[in-house]
């Protein structure tokens, strides 16, 4: 049977993730130290897990309202206000999704017409471009450079804008580079956004993971931007709850209504038990002033400093990331690009890192190293990488 004629052209044209194959090899070999995962190595706060279990015991195993538990949306509103000084109305502007990924897709689905362009900073998380394409849009990369510490600059944004531009995806703190956008940079972006009258999808899933005293500034907090921003966030990173799949979207009511409509028809509602767990995570957080997040961030910070120092010391230059839990060193000094480096490192030294080109063309000379691993495993891996680099380094 010739399936091609039955399948969606749009979907078939999306390239499969090349990374999968690489990590299928890495994951099978028990000796391999993987530095590839993009999820916390900490446990979900026990109060959250317990609330999830209790909700099952109590028989709360049915649908919630489409937009999610009212109490959870209230807590999220309170959390955003307390931690990032942004105000959203729980009932009309916030709803719960199955992870932040769903929220990204819904936002794009709700705003895009065929041929609309969406600007995606590069390098960035792998699912933005395919989501744009699946929603009938065209993804236009805006390259970010290590010289700018991988921030999106107003200039680079402006260059990517065309009359067809509908929106900008703003993924900071950034996966894979660890870049953050300080308030001043956001204000410059805001000017361009306003001038060209476009929307912004601000993916702030790593908002709690910032280092060196720099707290995250939400794009929705920049003057005049809330009305043209869809704020996307979730519990995966801040509360180490990746497997629970709880995210949320905050948007002006007109956009909210359209997004919720799609959510209602394709998802119904996020998992009820996960929502109870998330609710308890927030309540517990307020009780101890988010001490668990702070302890987690302190621990990431120690690993981050260790890696930056080691990598720069061995000649893999990397700028000091101020957010997320990745470092993004340049591997040019070995005469290899990121993909060659990652393959050879896996074969010879049994350490798995993610080639930078997975996150867009401009990441090709880099690799992503996650520090969601214990210091002692990072030390082992760094010793191996150092030996490997010594062997191949060109002067």
């Amino acid at each position: 049977m010739n399936y091609e004629k039955y399948l969606s052209k749009t979907v078939m044209e999306i390239p499969p993730s090349g990374i999968r194959k690489f990590f299928d090899v890495a994951d099978k070999d028990k000796e391999v130290i993987s530095l590839g995962v993009g999820e916390p190595d900490f446990n979900t706060p026990w109060c959250a897990s317990e609330a999830g279990i209790k909700s099952i015991q109590k028989g709360m195993t049915h649908y919630t309202s489409n937009s999610g538990l009212p109490a959870l949306r209230e807590q999220i509103a309170k959390y955003l206000k307390a931690r990032f000084d942004v105000e959203y109305e729980a009932e009309k502007e916030i709803f719960i999704t199955v992870g932040a990924s769903e929220a990204i897709y819904l936002a794009l689905r709700a705003i895009l017409n065929d041929g609309d362009e969406v600007i995606v900073p590069e390098p960035s998380y792998v699912s933005y471009c395919p989501s744009v394409i699946m929603c009938g849009g065209k993804a236009v990369p805006a390259k970010c450079y290590v010289e700018d510490e991988f921030r999106l600059t107003a200039k680079n944004l402006e260059e990517a804008i065309t009359p067809k531009t509908k929106a900008l995806i703003l993924p900071y703190p950034n996966n894979p580079t660890g870049a953050i956008m300080p308030r001043k940079s956001l204000e410059e972006i805001a000017k361009v956004v306003k001038k060209h009258d476009i929307l912004v999808l601000s993916d702030e899933i790593y908002c709690e993971m910032t280092y060196g005293g720099a707290r995250h500034t939400s794009f929705a907090e920049i003057e005049g931007m809330k009305e043209r921003t869809v704020l996307i966030n979730g519990f995966s990173k801040a509360f180490a709850m990746t497997g629970w799949r709880v995210g949320y979207a905050c948007a002006p009511n007109e956009i909210f209504k359209q997004m919720l409509k799609i959510h209602q028809y394709i998802i119904m509602c996020a998992s009820t038990n996960s929502q109870y767990a998330a609710l308890s995570a927030l309540k517990g957080g307020f009780e101890d002033d988010f001490a668990e997040i702070k302890a987690m961030v302190d621990e990431y910070d120690m690993r981050r400093r260790f890696l930056v120092k080691r990598l720069n010391g061995m000649g893999l230059t990397c700028f000091e990331p101020k957010g997320a839990f990745y470092v993004f060193p340049c591997v040019k000094c070995t005469g290899m690009n990121g993909e060659e480096f990652a393959n050879k490192l896996l074969q010879e030294s049994k350490v798995a890192v993610v080639p930078g080109n997975a996150f867009g063309e401009s990441g090709k000379d880099f690799v992503r190293i996650s520090y969601a691993y214990s210091l002692s495993s990072l030390k082992k891996a760094m010793d191996k990488i150092e030996e490997f680099v010594k062997k191949y380094k060109k002067n």
Partner: protein, 163 residues
């Protein structure tokens, strides 16, 4: 002790083979400063020893470990201290703790085999003055010790690489 000392200890307690330079990078101090802090903690006895944690199940020689609950008569001036000191002098004794609850001292004893440990208890320990009674529990298997899981059957959760 401040927050930096706590961080230094946290790193070393997990892996004491980090060099002072590496610890300095991790906690964000100069190497010199870290060296001094480590030395101060060694001198003050805060860092008591650097050691290797062995999985006794995998050693070629057998080691038998017993936990012994001991009831004693506390003494007038020194309370439990004098008897505890008498007990920890023995080389076979690896740990001595004063406990709340049903008994007074908890002692860990190591020996080559059951007989050796039994002889220690019957000949040396229970005959000591002020010791009222002992209850010896032999450890059959160590699944986790000092925060390290020793269980080979432990199924490590596969963490998926999702970018």
């Amino acid at each position: 002790m401040d927050n930096f000392d706590n961080k230094i200890l946290k790193v070393l307690k997990d892996d004491s083979r980090f060099t002072a330079e590496q610890v300095a990078d991790i906690v964000g101090l100069s190497a010199k400063d870290v060296q001094k802090r480590i030395k101060d903690m060694e001198d003050a006895g805060i860092i008591a020893k650097y050691t290797a944690l062995c999985n006794t199940e995998k050693l070629s020689e057998d080691i038998v470990t017993a936990l012994i609950e001991v009831k004693v008569t506390p003494q007038m001036s020194s309370g439990f201290d004098a008897i505890a000191r008498d007990v920890y002098q023995f080389e076979e004794v690896k740990a001595v703790y004063l406990m709340s609850g049903a008994y007074d001292l908890c002692i860990t004893v190591e020996g080559k085999n059951l007989r050796e440990v039994s002889r220690f208890v019957s000949e040396k320990l229970s005959t000591m003055r002020d010791i009222i009674s002992t209850a010896t529990h032999f450890i059959l298997k160590k699944y986790k010790t000092e925060g390290v899981i020793l269980d080979d059957e432990d199924i490590e959760q596969q963490r998926q690489v999702i970018l």
